[in-house]
Amino acid sequence: MLNEEKIKLMTSIGLFEKREGRRIFPVNRFFRSDYIGRYLLKSFLGYTLCWMLGTALVVVYKAEDLLSAFDFSKIRGLAGWYGIGYAVGLGGYLLITCVVYWRRYEYASRGMKVYMAKLKRLEKRYEMQGRTGHGGKRL
């Protein structure tokens, strides 16, 4: 016998899983610090790679100037500024990463609570069905 309320509940859980599953389930496998730390590391590596690529572009662009006026102290000064630029940019990028993934973790935690509440309701329905011994209302 079909239980209309149970089908509605299961459909709603299925839809929730389909819409939000990708944003919720992978996140909830981690503690907050591990989740954010993982992306911070990824961002650090990504930013460093991009910085290196960008540097390569600029160095080739300025190659003639650098070679024509080769001055060790000037290059050392430039390298200092280069390091400061890298550190400031990295700090900003990591901050953005931290904020974005903190919010995503919060969103996933709230979503997980909603999902668990829906599952509990379904479980109660099953228990009730087990006690009464029938599927409930007939369609």
Binding site: S43, G46, Y47, C50, L53, V60, A63, E64, Y93
Partner: protein, 318 residues
């Protein structure tokens, strides 16, 4: 107005009913437009221009996410440009990788803007993109829109300088590379259009988020005026020439497109706005409820009481 609302309702129903077919169809037409524009503007590699290759690419794009479509379009663009200028392709590849890592590392899901922006620029309605993105997206959408503007002007640069880029044998690779970067950086129009789009998105987004009546309408008009203002100011400051007729007509068409989008997505009746106030243990709530305009499509059922067939059968039976 009522007829338009009914039409909107029918359109929504139609989309809801056939979205499984419509979404691949939309993706197919978008990919077709993108690859067609790439081929007509910078189609320097004959193998990639063949209809069979294009058909395969479009069909693949129709069933995969927009991110894959952007990746394939980028790869095709790089392949075409590399056959003209390897230096240019190298610079573009590095910049694409940087955007992919730094921005798309966050998985924002708006890579379709990378494709739509050059299309709108090509159709001479570039001012529509900031209006539509400001109404539908978020502030970070400035990044993909700016990248789209950059890609459009790179395509234009390659198209206009293909002969110079290919045949300039007097320059070595470093000199060519330096020249390409210098030309790209000295393109004031590109910079101005990037700033225009960013300002447009910012103004539209901030105004439509305000809790005032007709916020979306005000946002569209303000966004269009802000974009015009940026273009005019840039014209004086940086001597950027934008054809006046193209600017005004483009802005008007963009506003119309934004108004259509507004009508389809956010049709509300401000005359029936209600204000509520209540409180719980922790907060006071000041609620403004604006009702949506909803008109259900008339469900016409024609019931035939006496069908012609039945009548005829009855006649012969007699």
């Amino acid at each position: 107005m009522m007829a338009l609302l009914v039409f909107r309702g029918k359109l929504r129903d139609f989309y809801g009913k056939y979205d499984a077919y419509l979404i691949p169809l939309i993706k197919l037409s978008l990919s077709l437009t993108v690859f067609f524009l790439i081929n007509t503007n910078v189609g320097y590699m004959d193998k990639l221009k063949s209809p069979a290759v294009m058909a395969v690419l479009c069909v693949v794009c129709a069933f995969l996410p927009y991110g894959v479509m952007s990746f394939l379009a980028g790869a095709v663009l790089l392949a075409h440009i590399s056959s003209v200028s390897l230096e240019m392709a190298l610079i573009l590849a590095v910049l694409m990788i940087m955007v992919a890592i730094l921005y798309y590392g966050f998985q924002p899901g708006d890579s379709y803007l990378l494709l739509l922006t050059p299309i709108f620029f090509h159709l001479k309605i570039p001012y529509a993109i900031p209006l539509l993105v400001g109404l539908s997206g978020s502030l970070v959408s400035v990044v993909p829109v700016s990248c789209g503007v950059f890609l459009y002007y790179i395509i234009q640069y390659v198209k206009q300088n293909a002969g110079v880029l290919t045949n300039d044998a007097s320059l070595d690779i470093i000199q060519k590379y330096t020249q390409v970067i210098r030309n790209m950086m000295s393109n004031n129009l590109m910079m101005v259009m990037m700033v225009t789009c960013a300002v447009g998105i910012l103004v539209v987004y901030l105004i439509r988020m305000l809790s005032v009546d007709y916020a979306w309408h005000i946002a569209i008009v303000s966004g269009a005026l802000a974009q015009l203002a940026v273009v005019f100011v840039s014209d004086f400051l940086f001597d950027v020439s934008v054809p006046m007729a193209e600017l005004l007509v483009g802005t008007l068409v963009s506003m119309v497109l934004a108004a259509v989008y507004n009508f389809m997505i956010f049709a509300v009746d401000y005359s029936r706005t209600e204000y509520l106030q209540f409180q719980d243990d922790d907060y006071y709530y000041y609620v403004k409820a604006v009702p949506k305009i909803t008109v259900s499509a008339p469900d016409v059922k024609v019931q035939k009481i006496n069908s012609a067939k039945k009548k005829r059968r009855e006649f012969y039976e007699q």
